[in-house]
Symmetry: D3
Subunit: 321 residues, 6 copies
C-alpha cells in the first residue's frame, strides 16, 4: 500500500540544542483543558487528514469527569474547533446504546470509511468499534472484544484477507499489568486467532505496555508507537517508545527500542489531573519527507504535539534493539 | 432439538430424610485424588455419553501441581479408568502448542463431533477449544478469546446460525470478580456480538459467578447450572445454583434461583487442597425420566456426583426467582 | 444488683482428663446447621432465661447466604425449636425497615424488657437495637451508632444513670483491625461519652477483639468474655478469652487473661463455612453454684456449648493477668 | 432564621473571561505554608465573622508534620495573623486530653457561642467538639462519635429541637470510601437517629464525599458545599460541588449538582504536599448581596479563596440536578 | 565426613499399597498439640541423636499463641517428653535477651557442640544462633542476619574453612515470596559472601521455598529437603520436596525434584491452626541402611513422622530433574 | 580522628529572609536531568573531596530507566562533568557481575581508599560494596548483606576494631516500612552483630527512615542526616532530618530531631519523576568554619545543594529532641 503524501501536516524543526529523536512542539499544549465550556480536560485523542484539512475524535472529559468523545476539525492540525456536545452514535442494538463511558479513541481509514476504536464501557471497559463516512454520522458497529480491554487499535489495511487489531487485556480498575495482543477478523465483528505481540520489559515499560497510534506501514515493517508504564512509589509514569513489526505476521517483533522516545518532563506533562503522563494516540505521516507528527495526551489533561522523522526513528530502532 | 434418552446414567434416589432439590451420591467421592499414580487431585471434569457407555475429559493435577487434561472411560459413569498421561493435542500452529496449563474442561457434542473447551494457558488463562471425533485423536482448534478468561462453555447447538459460548472474563490471579457473558461465532474461531448474561448478586454468589456444565435445552429455556462464590474472611466458598435462559436469546435470563442448590458441607467438599469448593462441570440428563446427574469437583481435590430431577429444578426456579 | 439463681442451666461436669478452665459439651454441636429447612447455618446466637425455660434470638443464614435473626425456645437450653421464618420487626420509621442483613445478636434483660442488639445493615454494618416484652412482638428502636460497627453488647443495667454499650468500630469489609469501645446513653437512642476499653495484643488476639456475651456483674467487676482474632497465612482464627472491668467505670480493665480460654480445635470448630472460628454470644449464669454455660458459634456454621465456673475464671484472670 | 448581612466579606468580581459559577481569587493563595515559623502548611481551615472583623481556627501542620489547630484573626478575611502556638484546650476529663492530632476544623455560631468541630485523634480519627465564647478560652466538650470518622460539620441551628451534625464514617487510613451521614443530638454530647444523606456517584465524586463548610440556610433548603474524590492511577483528586437539602429533614437531598464547581487546576492546587486537592471548610455569606466567599485548602499546603453568588449556585443546582 | 550409623532411628516400612517415595508413619501425629499443659500446638521442630537416645528442640506455641522453644527427650524418637517451660537462654548482650518470639528451630552437631538456629524476633524475624553442649545449658550467640529472614539452616560441617548457612530473606508479614540463599562465615557471627541457591518454580513451589532439615552429606552432594508453597484462592499450601547441591559449592544445584515428595492430604495435615501445611525441620539418617526419618509439622498444630530411603530419593531426583 | 579542613566546599550564606537551620542553594538544581546525553535523571549521588577538587559517584538513570552509577569530577563541587558511560566494575567472582541495577551510592574514605556502597541488584536490592584508589579503577568487593536491603552507609573509620555500616532492611518493592540498623565487620566482607538503631516515628518520618550521607564525627557523637518518609493519600513524601549517635556505641541515639530539616517544597523537589522527594546522599564538611554542604536528590530527577552550620544543627538537635 502506498501512503499518500501529507505535506500540510503540522511541523516544527528540531531545536538546535536538542538531540533526541522526538522533540516537542514549542507551543504545547495545542489544546487546553477548557477549549470547550463543558470540558474538564481534552487529551488522548485521534486525528486524521480529512478533505484537505484535518478532522479528529477527541476525548473530552466533562466537569462531572465523565469520559466521552467529541468531534473536531482543524485547518492546520494545530488549531482545533471541537463540538460542544459529544458524538451521538447510531446504534442498531439498543442494548449497546446505554452510555457508560467512552475514551481514548483512535481513527483510521480502511477501505471506504473512517473506523473509530475506543475504550467503551459495557459492563467494564472493552473495545468499541464504530465508523463514519463523513464525520457527520457516526455508526456504532459492535464491541469487538469482551471486557476487560483497552487500547484497541486497528491496522489501516487487511492482511491476508483479515482485519487486524491490537488490544491490551486489562482488569476493571487501574490495571497494574498489560501486554499487547493482536486479533484477526473477517468482518470487524467476530475476532479470533489472537496472538501475543509483546509484553512488559524493565524500566520505563515495566508495568504495562499498550498500542498507541494506528501503525504506519513502511517497507521494512509496521512502525508502532506504543506507551509503556513504570510504577514509582508515587504512581504510574507513562512514556512512549516504538517498535517495528513484521508486515505479514505483525505479531512478530522485528525491532523494539530499548529506550523511550519521550517521557513526561515538562510542566504540562507532569502537572495535571494525572501527573506524569505522555500518551500518544495518533500520528500524521508525510511519506515523501519522512516527517511524522505525533499527537499525545499530557497528564490526562491537555493535548500536545511532538515531531520526528521516519529515517531517524528507524535508525533509533536499529541501534537500540 | 430432541435430546436422546439416557436411561443408563448413574443414579441414586433421594434419601428419605432429605428434602433438598439436589442430593449427593452416597458413595462420594467417586474419583479419589490418587486414582492414577501421577495425580495430586482429579476434579472439575467433564463427562459425556459415548458409544453406549461414558467418556470424559478430566482435570488431573499432577504432583508438580501442574494442571492438565486426561481422557477417561467408564461403563457406568461412576467407576472410571483414566489415562495415566495427559491428552496429547494435535496443533496446526506450533505457537499455540507450548504447554502452560489446561484445566476445568467441558465436553459437548455439536454437529458431528465432541468439542472440548477448557481454561488454556496462553500468556494467561483463556478459553481453548478443541475437538475429537473418537476420543482417540484430539485436535486443538484455537484460543477462542483473549486472556484473561475462564469457564468457557459451549451450547450444544447453533442458535440462529451461530455457535454460542459462555465465558467469564477474569484477571491473571484468583480474580475477586466475575460475571457470565456470552459470545457468538460463525465458525468457532472468530467470536463477537458479546452480551452480558448475568452478574453477581448477594450472599452465596456475591464475589463471582461462572457457567458450569453445558446448558440443557428444555422447552422452556436453557437450563444452566452455574457456580457462585462468596468471600468469607477465610477465603472463597464455591456453591452452585441454576438459572433458565431464553431459548433464542440466551443472554436473557428467565428465572434465576435465589438460593444455592448445593454448597460445600461434607468432609470431602470442605477439606482438601482448596477448602469449601463444590464446582459442577458436567451433567448427564435422561429426558424421559427427567433424571439429571451432576458431576462436580470437591475441594479442588476429588470428583463427586449429585442428583436432581428436571421438574423439581424447574419448580425450584419458579419458586425462588 | 443481685443476679437470680438459674439452677436449670444446661450443664455437664468437666471431664476427668481435662484441666482447662473452659470445657466443651460432649454432645456438641447442640444446633446443627440445618435445624430448620431454610437454614444454611445457625450460629453466633443469644440465649436468655424466659418464663422458667429458655428463649433466644438466633443468627440463621439461609441458603441464599442471607443473614437474619430467628426466634427460638428451649425447655433445657440444649434442645431448641426455632421459627422457620425470621423475626418480623416493627419499625416506626420506614426508612430503617429496608432489609440489608442482621447478624450476631445479643439479648439482655434491662429494666422491664429484653433488649436485642445485633449487627444491622444500614448502608454498612452498624448496631441495631430492638426490644421485646414477650418474645412475640419485636420492636426496632434505632441504629445506635453510625456505620461501620459490629459486636454491640449492652450492659444489663444502667451505671450512674446511663445505659452502657460495648461496640467495635469496623470497616465495610472483613476488617483487619478492631478494638473494644464503650458508649453511654440516657435513652438507648442517643449515645456519647465514648471511651476506649481495650485493644489488640499479641498472639491469639493480635488482629482484633470484640465483646462477646452480655457482661456478668460480680462483686469484683464486670466479667466480659470476648473474642480475639489471629491472622494466619490462611486466614482469621477466632478464639475467646475473658477480662474483668471496673464496676463503676467499666472502661477500666482490672484483669485481662493473657491466654485464650477456648480456641478452635474440634472438627466442628475447624471445618465449616468459615474454618477455625469459636465465637461466644451468650452466657447463662447460676450465681449460687457459680456455673456458667457459654453459647458459642463454631466455624460460622453451628452452635455449641461450653462450661466453666465463676471462681475458676476469676482465678484464671488473676493468675494470667 | 435570618442570616445577618456581611458586607465586608472578602470579594473580587468574576473575571471577564471566566464563565464558571465559582471563580478563584486572583491573589491566591491568601495564606502561604510558612505564615508562622513553625508551620509546614496551613490549609483546610475555618473562618467566621467576629466582632466586626474575622476570626478563624486554622489547621497548621508543623515541621514534624503533626496536625494541630491554631487561632487566627483578620481585619478583612484575606490577611491573617495566626498564633504561633496551637490552641490550648480546656478539658474536663483528662483521659481526653492526650494529644494525638487535630485537623480540618469547622466553626459555627450556635445559640450563644462558637462551636468548633474537627477531626480529633482518639484511638483513631473521630469528631471532636469544642466551643469558645470569645476566641480566648477554648473548651473541649466531647468526642461526638466513635472512631473512625472525619468531616464532622454542625448545622448553625437546631431543627425540631435537636442539634444536627454531618459526618463521614471512615477507616483508620486514607479511606477509599466515604458517604455523608447526619446525626441528631439533644445536647451536643449524645448522638443518635443517624441517617444516610448521600453517597458517592461517578466521576469526580466516585471514591468518597464529605461535607465541607457549615451549611447555609436558604429559603429553599440548606446549601451544602461538599468535596468529592476521584481515584486516578496516581492518587486521589479532591474537587468540590454543592447540594441542597430539605430544611426540616436535611437528610433528604433536593438538588445535587452533577458537575464539580471547582477542581484542582492551578499550580497551588496541583503541586504541594498532596497534589490535586481543593478542599473547602468555610464560607462567608452576605445575604443581601448573595455574595459567598469560600475558603478552601489547596494541595494540603496553603489556603485560598474562591467566590460565587447564591443565585447562580442555586441556578446551577437546578440545571445540573 | 563419614556420618555415623543410627540403627535405632524411628522406622516403619512402606505400606504395601503405597508407591510413593516418602510415606507417613501410621501412628501420626506422634506429638499431639496438648502434650504439655501450656501448649496450644507443637510442630516444626528439630531432633538429633543424643547419648544413644534422642533429644530435640521443639516449637511450642502456648495458649497466648506466643511462639517459643522447649527442650525434649525421647528414647525412641517417637515418644517424647518435653519440658513444660521454654528454654532459658544465656545471653552475653542483654539487648538481645528481650523476648519477642522464637520458632521453627533446627539443631545440628558441628565440631564440638549442638548448634540451634531458629527464627528469632529482633525487631522482626531473623535467624538466631545458639548452642548447647549438653542440652542443659543453652547459650545465645548472635542474630546471624538482619531482619527480615526465616528458615536459617546450618550445614553440619565447614566447607573450605567457612561455616555455611541457608536462609530465606522475607518480609515482616506472611511473606508472599521467598528464595533460598546461602551465606558463609569464619566464626558463625559475621556472615558474608551470600549466594542465591534456588528460587520458586511453578506449581507446588510457586510462591516461596525454604530450606527444611539440616542437609545430609552424600557422596554425590548435599541432600536438601525443602518446603515449597503454593497460593490457592484460600491460602498457602505447604508441601515438601528435595534437591541435591554441589558438595564444595553448595549454591550450585545438581538435581531438583520437579514433584513434591509429600503434600498435605491427611486430616492432621489439612485441619488445624493453619490448614494444609506439611513442614519438615529435621531428619535422622542411618547411613548403612539408607533409612531416613523425617520430622515434619502438620497444619502448624502437631508433629508427625515420614520415612524414605536414600537410594530411592536419589533415584527420584535423577528421574524428576 | 581529626577531620581535615575543606575551605573550598560549595557555599552560599543563608538568605536574609530565611530562618531555617538548612537552606537551599539559590541556583538549584546544580545538576539537570539531562547533563549527559543518555540520562533520564541524575540524583541521589555522592561527592567527596579528591585531589584538591571534588569527585563523585552519581546515580544516572538512562532513558530505559535503568539505574546505574557514573563517575564525575568538579572543580568547585557545583559544576560537574560526568562520564557518559557507567562505571565498569572489576569483579573477582563473575557470578556477581551480572548487571541488574545500581543506585543511590555513598562514597567514603576509609584507611587508604575510597569505598563506595550502593543499592545493588542481586536477586533483589542489597548493599554492594566496592572501592577505588584513584577514581580510575573501581573494584567490586561483595554484597555485604542478603537481599532485601537499601541505604547502606559506611562509617568513615573503624570503631573498636570493626567496620560499621548502616542499612535499612526492605522488601522487593516500594517498601512501606523501614528502620535503620547497624552491622559490624572485621573485613568489610562478613557482617554481624547487627543492632537496631532507630525506627519510624510520627509525622514526616512515619513510614520509613534511612541513613543518608556518611555520618560526620563530632566531639559529641556521630551526626547522621537521614531521610524520613510520610505516606499521603497520593504517595510517599521524602524529607530529611538529623540525629546524633554515640561515638563508641553508634546504635545508641543521643539526640534525634523531631522536625525535618528540609522537606520538598520547591518546584524541582515537587515535580519530576517521583514528586515530593528530597533525599540526601552526601555532605562536605569544613571543620574549622563549621560549614556543611548537603547534596540531595530532588524528585528522583535532579541534584541540588543545601547548606547548614554544624553549631546550628547541634543546637537544633538539642532543642528539638
Amino acid at each position: 500500500m502506498t501512503l499518500p503524501a501529507l505535506p500540510s501536516i503540522p511541523w516544527e524543526e528540531r531545536p538546535a540544542d536538542c538531540s533526541t529523536v522526538v522533540w516537542r512542539y514549542s507551543a504545547n499544549p495545542i489544546i487546553p483543558r477548557d477549549l470547550i465550556p463543558s470540558s474538564n480536560s481534552i487529551f488522548n485523542s485521534a486525528v486524521v487528514p480529512f478533505q484537505g484539512k484535518f478532522a479528529g475524535v477527541f476525548r473530552c472529559d466533562d466537569k462531572q469527569r465523565e469520559m466521552n468523545l467529541n468531534r473536531g476539525f482543524s485547518p492546520d492540525g494545530i488549531h482545533w474547533q471541537l463540538d460542544h456536545e459529544p458524538i451521538n452514535w447510531i446504534y442498531d442494538d439498543p442494548e449497546l446504546s446505554h452510555f457508560q463511558y467512552r475514551y481514548d479513541p483512535r481513527v483510521v481509514w480502511i477501505d471506504d470509511r473512517f473506523y473509530i476504536t475506543w475504550c467503551n464501557g459495557y459492563h467494564g471497559p472493552t473495545i468499541g468499534i464504530g465508523y463514519t463516512f463523513d464525520f457527520e454520522q457516526f455508526h456504532f458497529l459492535e464491541n469487538a472484544l469482551l471486557p476487560f480491554n483497552r487500547n484497541g487499535v486497528l491496522f489501516p489495511r487487511q492482511i491476508n484477507g483479515e482485519y487486524i487489531m491490537f488490544s491490551r487485556p486489562s482488569d476493571n480498575g487501574h490495571t497494574p499489568f498489560g501486554d499487547i495482543y493482536l486479533s484477526r477478523s473477517p468482518d470487524l465483528i467476530h475476532w479470533g486467532k489472537h496472538r501475543f505481540v509483546m509484553g512488559v520489559r524493565g524500566g520505563w515499560e515495566s508495568t504495562k505496555v499498550g498500542a498507541g497510534p494506528v501503525p504506519i506501514e513502511t517497507p521494512e515493517g509496521w512502525l508502532m508507537f506504543y506507551h509503556g508504564v513504570l510504577t514509582s512509589c508515587n504512581g504510574f509514569v507513562y512514556s512512549f517508545g516504538a517498535a517495528l513489526l513484521d508486515l505479514e505476521q505483525p505479531w512478530k517483533v522485528i525491532y523494539r527500542g530499548t529506550s523511550y522516545l519521550l517521557s513526561p518532563q515538562t510542566y504540562y506533562e507532569c502537572v495535571g489531573d494525572v501527573p506524569n503522563v505522555a500518551f500518544p494516540c495518533a500520528t500524521l505521516y508525510d511519506t515523501p519527507s519522512g516527517r511524522i507528527s505525533i499527537y499525545y495526551g499530557c497528564a490526562d489533561t491537555v493535548t500536545s504535539l511532538a515531531f520526528c522523522r521516519m529515517d531517524e526513528v528507524m535508525a533509533f530502532l536499529k541501534e537500540n534493539k
